[in-house]
């Protein structure tokens, strides 16, 4: 396990470096000069030229490109990601305060997705070809084909505007924070994100269970006198979930993508909303900081998936 994981970690670091080069290169392609953008033409006066030159030197923009890259990389490694062009605040701070709500939403919706997908997929597999299977297919297909943001808008329409039951924006109502209030705000984003994520997962669980149901050890268990339910829960499920667990780990980046959309619809104060706002405002430092964070998150989830696989399957031993 040690050697294999070490190799994977090294490859991940290599990939991260490549990606960081890609991001940096992308940034260099951006139209417009970062300094000149800080000082729009109408604000320039007689001293502007000198000021721009001085700023340039200060930001190191006159140095060779690879020096700039390493400076930037070095800064990033120590947490200095620059300052938001929009608010002037440190990008690190912004990311830091936005991570919480996003992780909160993502984590809970992942749990919800699993809670929906595993029983539903199991039911569909055990009752393959029958009504329950088709019903589960309909649900999971619906989850996959309907854009989550559309469901969000629909949800707001029905539950916020017509029925007045649930709030339509934010994490909490300003001025009246309470657990109940936070929960109400959580319901719609959580349910939609969880439902959307369960679609594909249900199909995976279903096919994994179906494959396991044909195994010889099922017949042995039956020959021992294990009940039908016992066969499924004690024998099949454990085997069927092994590949599913790694899939869950690998779905984390996709979950972030979903969170971006949902946070936008529900004005949820998380990373996704920050990223879209930065995009709209062409706030490059924030975009880049977000890109780095995201790249790290993706590579980490791949590593976690590898780790989980070795932990969960006793046949995959130390290598």
């Amino acid at each position: 396990m040690g050697a294999y994981l070490l190799r994977r970690t090294l490859i991940s670091v290599l990939v991260l470096v490549l990606i960081s080069i890609g991001i940096f290169w992308l940034f260099r392609l951006a139209p417009g000069d970062p300094v000149e953008m800080m000082l729009p033409p109408q604000n320039r006066g007689p001293g502007s030229e000198a000021f721009i030159a001085a700023k340039r030197a200060e930001l190191g923009l006159d140095k060779p490109i690879w020096v700039q890259y390493f400076t930037w990389l070095g800064n990033a490694a120590t947490g200095d990601l620059g300052f938001s062009m929009d608010s002037g605040r440190s990008v690190g701070d912004l990311l830091g305060e936005r991570v919480g709500p996003t992780v909160y939403l993502m984590g809970l919706s992942l749990v919800l997705s699993v809670l929906i997908a595993v029983p539903l997929g199991l039911l569909a597999a055990v009752r393959k070809g029958r009504l329950a299977d088709y019903a589960a297919s309909v649900v999971s297909l619906g989850a996959v084909c309907t854009p989550p943001f559309f469901l969000g808008i629909l949800g707001i329409y029905i539950f916020s505007l017509k029925l007045g039951l649930l709030p339509s924006a934010g994490m909490s109502t300003p001025g009246s924070p309470s657990v109940g209030d936070s929960l109400l705000h959580l319901v719609m984003p959580l349910v939609i994100l969880g439902f959307a994520g369960s679609g594909k997962l249900t199909r995976y669980v279903r096919s994994s269970v179906i494959a396991e149901l044909h195994s010889d050890y099922v017949r042995t268990a039956e020959a021992k006198g294990v009940s039908a339910g016992g066969v499924v829960t004690k024998h099949v499920l454990r085997n069927a979930l092994i590949p599913v667990i790694t899939i869950i780990a690998l779905s984390l980046p996709g979950l972030l993508a979903g969170a971006v959309v949902i946070e936008t619809v529900f004005a949820w104060p998380g990373m996704g909303q920050l990223a879209i706002a930065a995009f709209n405002g062409r706030d490059y430092p924030v975009i880049i900081g977000f890109a780095l964070f995201f790249a790290i998150m993706v590579l980490l989830s791949n590593l976690i998936a590898d780790l989980l696989y070795t932990l969960v399957d006793p046949r995959v031993s130390l290598r």
Partner: protein, 298 residues
């Protein structure tokens, strides 16, 4: 043993009912949902292609005297914030969404087939590198990547199509690689070579048909993915830019509560259109999968 060999082995001599193409068609037609999908899809395509015949309105023409009108005799689906006819926008938007879906799928499948074939044929470290790259591309969701790319370079339809294609190639790549690998070992390839068949003939008559079957399925499902991604990206402003309508960006307006609550005709049609189209493509894809590769049928 050879006296009983049939004299004529050409496809025409084989009983027509059992030919693979016919059997595939029969299996496809057994799939009621797939047929429904084909019908709906055909409808959508026809309606968007013949848009100019179905509506007299220009989807981008602004008419400030008829802003935000609910559906009425003049405008079947009402008008939007700039007075543009929603029905016309729906039809023309359909073109964009479908085209994005198709082109991104073609790109994904093209790149995937090429890389997958190379990986399968060359093997060794080339294979490892390509597969590792596939894993990495697979783990980056297009949406987030687009935020970064479009955020720095500016959003555009081309960027979107390329990004979707580039990040969804792994699926096609994996399939093609699998087929190439298994075909290399398969006995009929070795047997054909023993009979002196040239490599090119082998590829055309053996490799391509098998690959094509699986690739068609992957491509169809890639179209569905493309359409969905276009909707999400355009909704967020990362894709098709107004005034060019797309089903996705027609929903951007619906982030305002007044629009949501009082003007459902603005956001219900595009959302439903996306869902129905994607659903149909998925049904067709499932039907094709069962028809062309019955071993995969669950």
């Amino acid at each position: 043993m050879t006296e009983s060999m049939p004299a004529d082995l050409s496809p025409e001599a084989r009983p027509a009912l059992r030919s693979p193409g016919r059997m595939a068609l029969r299996r496809f037609l057994r799939h009621k949902l797939a047929i429904a999908g084909v019908v709906v899809l055909l409808l959508v395509v026809l309606v968007t292609v013949f848009a100019p015949l179905l509506t007299a309105y220009d989807p981008t023409k602004v008419d400030l005297s008829h802003v935000r009108k609910p559906p009425n005799a003049d405008h079947v689906l009402g008008t939007d914030g700039s007075g543009r006819d929603v029905f016309a926008r729906m039809l023309y938007a359909g073109r964009v969404s479908l085209l994005v879906g198709v082109f991104s799928a073609l790109l994904a499948v093209g790149v995937g087939t090429l890389l997958g074939a190379i990986a399968g044929i060359l093997g060794g470290w080339v294979d490892s590198v390509i597969m590792r790259a596939a894993d990495i591309f697979l783990s980056f969701p297009v949406l987030v990547v687009m935020i970064v790319i479009a955020g720095i370079l500016g959003p555009s339809v081309t960027t979107m199509v390329v990004a979707i294609g580039v990040f969804t190639w792994p699926e096609a790549g994996r399939v093609v690689r699998g087929v190439t690998l298994s075909l290399r070992e398969r006995e009929f390839v070795q047997a054909s070579q023993a009979f002196g068949a040239r490599t090119r003939w082998l590829i055309v008559h053996h490799v391509l048909p098998t690959v094509l079957n699986q690739v068609v399925v992957v491509a169809t499902l890639a179209v569905a993915t493309g359409i969905l991604l276009e909707a999400s990206l355009s909704f967020l402003g990362l894709g098709v830019q107004p005034p060019q309508p797309s089903w996705g960006n027609m929903l951007t307006d619906a982030q305002r509560l007044t629009v949501i609550s009082q003007m459902p005709w603005l956001w219900l049609p595009p959302g439903i259109a996306v869902a129905i189209t994607v659903l149909s493509v998925n049904f067709v894809g499932d039907g094709l999968r069962d028809a062309l590769d019955p071993r995969e049928a669950s």
